[in-house]
């Protein structure tokens, strides 16, 4: 009797444990299949230009990543814009987040709502209205790096504000008061207590900004003039047949992201 009961419950437990594990693996598979395909295709030796099938293994793509005409220029431009936009948006957004969380001022509630608005509005609308703005402001002739940068900083800003604000709101004000009680003046309090505690939020916001900027297509495409970013290059190449080197860039980006995340996790573990 007891053996049966315990037998049944142990079978139930086995199924419970392994079913959940199995479902988990399937979901992971679902998430990682596209990435796996990208990695695989970066080693593809296509038979024709329009080949989407795996025709043979080669290291040629990895050894000659810049072979397709203009692709590496597009990557460099995207990285430049990404870094500049990250810097600008993170700086401005962090300041905004501090103001919104720490200071009581008239119009604070409205400002809070407005920072959400760019996140909520469709990109195509934002892109076209930005273009209209640039053109009416007389920048039609100089569309390119700078207009893209302005656009990217704008849409990254909301994400930075929201991310940093969340971190800052979770920061116990008594920690800063304790620092002041222990002879730290305003600057030292910020430097020794506030900043280190909010930093993970700022870092997350920066990473998010970079990835948002790097792969933005719609807004960029509308405001780029003659400039070609990496997503635009891929879009254009798709019309003619995708060169396998694009997958090399994709895989490299994925690896960099992976290493960043792992390094962050490792650092966190080390700090306890």
């Amino acid at each position: 009797m007891t053996t049966v009961a315990s037998g049944r419950s142990s079978i139930g437990k086995w199924i419970g444990d392994h079913l959940i594990m199995g479902i988990g693996l399937l979901v992971l598979l679902y998430m990682f299949t596209p990435i796996f395909i990208v990695v695989l295709m970066s080693f593809n030796d296509p038979a024709s230009r329009i080949g989407y099938s795996f025709d043979g293994f080669t290291l040629h793509n990895w050894l000659n990543p810049c072979e397709p005409n203009g692709m590496c220029d597009a990557v460099v431009l995207s990285v430049q814009i990404g870094l500049a936009a990250t810097l600008g948006a993170t700086f401005l957004g962090t300041l905004m987040a501090f103001a919104l969380v720490r200071h009581r001022f008239r119009g604070r509630a409205v400002a809070n709502v407005f920072t959400f608005l760019p996140m909520a509005s469709p990109e195509i609308v934002m892109g076209s209205s930005l273009l209209a703005l640039f053109v009416t402001a007389g920048f039609a002739g100089v569309l390119g790096f700078w207009t893209i940068l302005v656009a990217h900083i704008m849409f990254c800003l909301s994400f930075v504000v929201v991310t940093v604000k969340a971190r800052l709101a979770g920061l116990d004000p008594r920690l800063e008061q304790a620092a002041m009680d222990l002879y730290a003046n305003e600057w030292q309090t910020f430097r020794r207590v506030t900043l280190p505690l909010v930093f993970p939020g700022i870092l997350a916001a920066a990473l998010l900004s970079f990835s948002l900027s790097f792969d933005d297509f719609i807004i960029t495409n509308l405001n780029s003039g003659q400039a070609v970013t990496f997503p635009m290059y891929v879009w254009g190449a798709n019309q003619r047949g995708i060169p396998p080197q694009i997958n090399v860039i994709g895989t490299a980006m994925f690896l960099i992201a992976l290493i960043t995340v792992l390094a962050g996790e490792l650092g966190r573990r080390r700090r306890g």
């Binding site: 920690l175 002041m180 009680d181 222990l182 002879y183 020794r192 207590v193």
Partner: protein, 399 residues
């Protein structure tokens, strides 16, 4: 390096007060609050508070939750600005001085340890900000004192509540401030560790001679540790004095009930007879020494502590002059080991408490027994009858 010459430091003057960085000043470094009021929008948290904490004393601020204890400490620390009034330390006005310019440190009610720093760096924080030399040695000695040397490299999240509390204490104490503010520093500890830390705290305070302002709602803690206890209620100090004085001479019903327990019986002063007042209590006349009366005319509350009340069989003999109330019937008798707690219903319907030590010398009574309550007249106290007899009764239980 200590500076005892009086300096007048106006609000906002850019210099630290006295020995912000040094040891306690010898003499005259009292902490004085004058007419301090703190209003939050429309709520008065601290109401016109006058308080003097002598230098080097252990001062306990005792009161129920929400009575304004933390708010008072925060104003002394500079984390809250008084709406009105003035705070002086060693003769200097510090009311509007920045927290980091005050020779005052706080042990926060919630510890507020820096989660990103090790225990060592938490304790070293104040010394480093002041640019003190030999930080490492001082921190090591401090950690030794609070028995946390082994955990120096851990982070606050990896410590138990009691250990965190000791870090908070070490972090403040290491700066040797003129005044150390402790906001329920022992609240999270179990009874044994709390007693141990109480002794330790008291020892440290005596050794270093720093003024301690210790907030608690544990009356036992306040009475065992402090030189002076101030009982606070709804933003005002009800009464202040040495623990025994406060316990034996409560001046308000709140203090009588909050500090220990009291029987308060309605009565009326009939007149005086030399050193004694004659008081009528539900038809019985009692004598009360005049010095025991917070009020000496008209309607009064006649107070007597339960442990001072003797439960006797009617008509039994006395061994000295006694005040007596006859006609009681025992309604409850709880044996709790060291003592037996009786409730006796009096002819006017009120139930009075009496705690009898289990010395074996007294007769034990059962529910339903007829008894007489007696006590030494000097133990009676009289309070103003305008007050609520139940004020302060529902006090927060220990633990």
């Amino acid at each position: 390096m200590t500076d005892t010459s009086p300096r007048t430091t106006g609000p906002g003057a850019g210099e630290a007060v006295g020995a912000a960085s040094g040891n306690a000043v010898a003499g005259g470094a009292d902490l004085v609050l004058t007419g301090v009021t703190k209003r939050f929008t429309d709520f008065v948290a601290v109401d016109n508070l006058d308080l003097t904490v002598p230098q080097g004393s252990f001062f306990a601020l005792l009161g129920p939750s929400g009575c304004g204890k933390t708010t008072t400490l925060r104003m002394v620390a500079g984390l809250e600005t008084p709406t009105e009034g003035e705070i002086r330390l060693a003769g200097q006005d510090i009311t509007h001085l920045k927290p980091y310019r005050r020779p005052v440190n706080t042990v926060f009610q919630s510890y507020a340890l820096f989660p990103h720093l090790t225990i060592f760096e938490n304790v070293a924080f104040g010394l480093r900000r002041q640019g003190k030399p030999d930080v490492d040695a001082a921190v090591a000695a401090m950690l030794d004192l609070v028995e946390l040397s082994d955990l120096a490299s851990r982070r606050p999240a990896q410590l138990s509540g009691g250990q965190q509390q000791r870090v908070a204490l070490a972090r403040a104490l290491i700066n040797r401030p003129q005044v150390l503010l402790l906001d329920e520093p022992l609240g999270a500890l179990d009874l044994k560790l709390r007693r141990q830390m109480q002794i330790e705290l008291k020892r440290i305070q005596t050794d270093v001679g720093i003024t301690f302002v210790h907030v608690t709602h544990d009356q036992e803690e306040a009475m065992t540790m402090a030189d002076t206890v101030a009982v606070m209620n709804r933003g005002v100090i009800e009464q202040m004095g040495a623990p025994m004085d406060l316990y034996e001479h409560p001046m308000t019903t709140f203090v009588a009930n909050f500090l220990g327990q009291s029987n308060l019986i309605g009565g009326r002063v009939l007149g005086s007879d030399g050193a004694d007042l004659e008081v009528e209590v539900h038809g019985t006349r009692l004598r009360v020494p005049r010095s025991r009366g917070a009020q000496d005319t008209g309607e009064v509350w006649v107070g007597i502590r339960p442990e001072k009340v003797q439960v006797c069989a009617p008509g039994s003999a006395d061994d000295g002059p006694r005040s007596r109330l006859a006609g009681g019937v025992i309604t409850d008798a709880s044996f709790i080991g060291v003592s037996t707690q009786y409730l006796a219903r009096m002819p006017w319907g009120q139930e009075l408490m009496a705690f009898e030590q289990n010395t074996g010398a007294h007769e034990q009574f059962r529910v339903g027994d007829h008894v007489e309550l007696r006590w030494v007249p000097e133990h009676t106290f009289l309070l103003d009858a305008d007050q609520d007899a139940n004020a302060g009764v529902e006090r927060v239980d220990e633990g």
